[in-house]
């Protein structure tokens, strides 16, 4: 059965995504809006992709953020600039073993340069009006603490607020009220803090809108990912990186919801028409953690073997929200019964929604992540798992060795490889490709095209 699949040479129709350019423009505008916010009297803030971005939205429609991880990834994609960032950070005395995104971000401050989504590097790193972060791993709070320190050394005072979410993951039952309330109380305080540091009034209606946008956007992204269960897969992971990123940049904004609604309609249409992401698809894999951003061409190399990467828990569950059905299947999470109408309702909703994020599970419980990966393998009909042992991110690599053991135990072929999402010095492209192709050949695959 497997051998037949490996030797089949069926070609599926394929075509580019129609929404592609719209996505690129949206992303470019995001970075430009942040850059130019102050010119129009707007505010800009910096924080992580997982920060409670809906909360500062209550300050007005002219509040723009830059989320550190996607920005770090953008820097990583442009290897020359990354190298300069790392040199600057190491020259400042920081160890090179730290989170690679964080080092990219600090390097940008130290160099006083800002990179746009297309790789354009401009002078003067834009200083945020405030920092709004949450602490999810050993580095997240510290990242911006040092960013603040670096800005201070340049004579700029940036107030910082950081929310502690370290209350665990609701594996089998909801978290206790005292845990949820601990986070809610911090957000409540945070709103008062935002008013104080910005001098603005706070609008609860905007907060409720932003929370509802986030809930919708993160559900929509899960629904889009679920469509990739189709054979052939309508999307490949390299493409998905450019799509999921909207959720990491602006999950609380209406543009994000509108983009995902449109994208979902297009992907549904591709499934209906049997449009493949990879025309010669014959072997389906999933990956794990952030890829080495400077080496995404590895996905194109995989396609030469007829291999499509369908996504990962990272691409599906970093932003997408999921749940288990009683029959054990993993499906997009339902929208909450009603849109919040008050601050109290909005904060409770967003906290409960956020701590249930699938990619949060493995921080505490390796077995929870293994279970999700195996659900993806089964439902998405994946033939193997490629685990990126990512030296650049402690948070997403934590427990990854346990996941490897769990996947192996389930009898699923697994290929671990070591690299770094944001520091090219720690990824051996040639060596990894050689080992990967050996792995594919051990699966019965042969190179189909040059």
């Amino acid at each position: 059965m497997m051998l037949k699949k490996m030797t089949q040479t069926k070609e599926y129709p394929t075509e580019p995504l129609k929404i592609w350019n719209e996505g690129k423009q949206l992303r470019r505008r995001y970075y430009e809006d942040y850059l130019n916010a102050n010119e129009h009297g707007g505010l800009r803030w910096a924080g992580g992709a997982w920060s409670f971005s809906a909360i500062p939205a209550g300050l007005g429609d002219d509040v723009y953020c830059i989320t550190g991880e996607p920005h770090g990834a953008t820097i990583a994609f442009f290897k020359d600039f990354t190298a300069k960032c790392h040199e600057a950070v190491e020259a400042a005395g920081f160890p090179r073993t730290l989170c690679a995104y964080m080092r990219n971000y600090w390097g940008s401050i130290l160099l006083d340069k800002y990179i746009l989504a297309d790789g354009t590097v401009i002078d003067n790193h834009p200083t945020p009006d405030f920092i709004w972060q949450d602490h999810i791993c050993c580095s997240h709070g510290k990242w911006y603490q040092v960013a603040k320190w670096l800005e201070e050394k340049k004579g700029k005072r940036v107030p910082m607020y950081c929310v502690d979410v370290s209350v665990g993951y609701p594996m089998d039952k909801p978290l206790e009220d005292y845990k949820i309330n601990y986070i809610i109380n911090q957000l409540d305080d945070g709103i008062e803090w935002l008013k104080k540091v910005t001098g603005r009034e706070y609008n609860d209606v905007l907060l409720c809108e932003a929370v509802w946008n986030e809930v919708k956007a993160t559900k929509l992204w899960a629904e889009i990912c679920a469509l990739n269960q189709a054979v052939p897969a309508p999307l490949d992971e390299k493409t998905m990186y450019s799509l999921y990123v909207m959720g990491t940049l602006m999950k609380h904004r209406p543009e994000c919801v509108a983009f995902y609604e449109k994208l979902k309609a297009e992907v549904e249409d591709r499934v209906r028409r049997g449009i493949a992401a990879v025309g010669n698809e014959r072997f389906r894999v999933i990956t794990d953690t952030q890829p080495p951003w400077g080496f995404l061409k590895i996905f194109r190399e995989m396609e030469k073997y007829g291999v499509v990467s369908l996504g990962s828990l990272y691409t599906y569950g970093l932003i997408g929200m999921w749940k288990y059905r009683p029959d054990g299947s993993w499906i997009p999470k339902d929208l909450p019964p009603a849109k919040p109408k008050t601050r109290e309702e909005a904060l409770k909703l967003i906290v409960e929604w956020t701590v249930d994020r699938p990619e949060w599970a493995h921080f505490y419980l390796p077995e929870a992540k293994t279970k999700m990966i195996l659900s993806i393998v089964k439902q998405w009909k994946a033939d193997a798992v490629l685990l990126h042992y990512n030296r650049g991110c402690e948070g997403l690599s934590v427990h990854i060795a346990e996941n490897r053991l769990g996947i192996q135990k389930a009898g699923v072929p697994v290929f671990p490889f070591e690299g770094n999402m944001g520091d090219e010095r720690e990824f051996d492209f040639t060596g990894t490709l050689a080992r990967l192709t050996t792995f594919f050949e051990s699966m019965g695959l042969k190179k189909m095209k040059k």
Binding site: A92, G93, F94, P95, T97, L98, C99, M102, I131, H135, C137, C138, S139, G141, K142, W143, Y144, Q145, V146, K148, W149, M160, Y161, C162, V163, D164, S166, V167, G168, E176, Y178, K179, Y182, N185, Q186, D189, F363, Y364, L365, P366, E367, Y389, R391, E394, G395, S397, V398, H399, I400, A401, E402, R404, L405
Partner: protein, 379 residues
């Protein structure tokens, strides 16, 4: 007498497992292994459980690779190795007080791969600078207490908690008093001895340890170390129980007069203050204690504390230690060095692994000591 006390501390460390097994046999009570000093030992002592800290053995790692990716710190891998090798086969449970992702992995790998009766993770808050941390931790400790009661079948009363608090406070207070003898121009104890004192307290019954400390304090005032104390150094950073490094540095003409490690001053610096709600009192201590940098944001309170220690102990230079891959400590290196420099304390950074390359480190330490002392010779 003093030498005997320090010899006992040393023996307890070297024979920690024998000590624990004998204690168990003698008392018939349970032993719990813990990974991080954020575990509130007060509650374990309240229920007559002996908490022992799980630390590594500084042997090259051979058994942990399948369970922990090697980009995580050597401490977490070395701790797990001890479990996998069966060296803690006498413990009845493991507990972790949330600190970093590294030790969380050691805890989870232990829970999943080494048979154990009781494994409990306390979600100690990271946001220790926010006002909700203490009420939150109070509830988290109540849950821990309940789980301990269910496990042991014994109700933990306020009197029991008072006992646990008393045992811990007493031990910490005595060790802080010993630290005072590091302040004079000719310190009464070496840095190695101080480290062995604190380390051993994490491995043995605190009441027994305190008895020895009391004797030590009686004798210390008249102690003469008969050595040139040399350069007054401070050592700061990640978990550090590398006694060989301490000895080697002090043999080069220096004395560590104070430290900022969780195997040293950070472990003993703060007591539980009295409060009618005992769990609130304990929670307050663990939120307000000198923090691990993983919890210390947005302000650098630990850096400020280190500066204060450096002044109080009249430090000339500081070695800043980062266990390789320890992000919380690594992140703070430049702010810490800058803050110490501002008060005239020069620093030198070292990256530690499970073993340290003393040959290279010796040259660097010597060079650093020369920069602190050699100018008069030059000019």
């Amino acid at each position: 007498m003093v030498e005997e006390v320090f010899e006992t501390f040393r023996r307890w460390i070297d024979n920690r497992h024998d000590y624990a097994k004998a204690w168990k046999e003698k008392t018939g009570s349970r032993i719990v292994g813990y990974f991080c000093t954020y575990v509130p030992e007060e509650i374990l002592y309240a229920v007559n459980i002996l908490p022992v800290r799980i630390l590594g053995s500084h042997e090259p790692p051979t058994v942990t690779e399948p369970y922990i990716f090697a980009m995580f710190c050597h401490l977490c891998r070395d701790c797990l190795a001890q479990g996998l090798k069966g060296r803690f086969d006498y413990i009845d449970g493991i507990v972790e007080g949330q600190s970093c992702l590294h030790l969380r992995q050691a805890f989870n790998a232990w829970r999943l791969h080494i048979p154990i009766n009781f494994a409990y993770y306390i979600h100690i808050p990271h946001g220790i600078q926010n006002p909700h941390a203490i009420p939150y931790l109070t509830q988290e400790l109540a849950k821990f207490k309940k789980n301990l009661e269910d496990w042991t079948g014994k109700k933990i009363t306020n009197e029991d908690l008072d006992k646990g608090i008393r045992i811990m406070n007493r031990n910490r207070e005595l060790m802080r008093r010993v630290y005072e003898y590091r302040k004079p121009d000719n310190p009464k104890i070496t840095g190695l001895e101080a480290m062995e004192m604190v380390l051993s307290s994490q491995m043995v019954d605190k009441e027994e340890h305190s008895k020895l400390l009391k004797k030590l304090l009686e004798e210390l005032p008249s102690r003469n170390l008969n050595r040139n104390s040399g350069v007054r150094l401070m050592i700061i950073g990640s978990e550090d129980d590398d006694r060989v490094f301490m000895k080697n540095v002090e043999d080069l003409g220096a004395t560590f007069v104070v430290d900022e490690h969780c195997t040293g001053s950070r472990y003993i610096w703060d007591d539980v203050a009295p409060h009618e709600d005992k769990l609130f009192a304990i929670a307050s201590r663990y939120v307000k204690r000198v923090p691990c940098p993983s919890k210390d944001w947005p302000e650098f309170t630990r850096v400020n504390h280190s500066v204060k220690l450096a002044k109080e102990f009249n430090v000339q230079g500081a070695l800043v230690i980062q266990n390789k891959f320890c992000d919380p400590h690594g992140i703070e290196i430049p702010p810490l060095r800058e803050a110490l420099k501002q008060i005239g304390v020069q620093t030198y950074p070292f990256e530690f692994d499970v073993t340290v390359p003393w040959g290279q480190f010796r040259t660097r330490v010597e060079a650093f000591l020369e920069t602190l002392t050699g100018l008069e010779e030059l000019f």
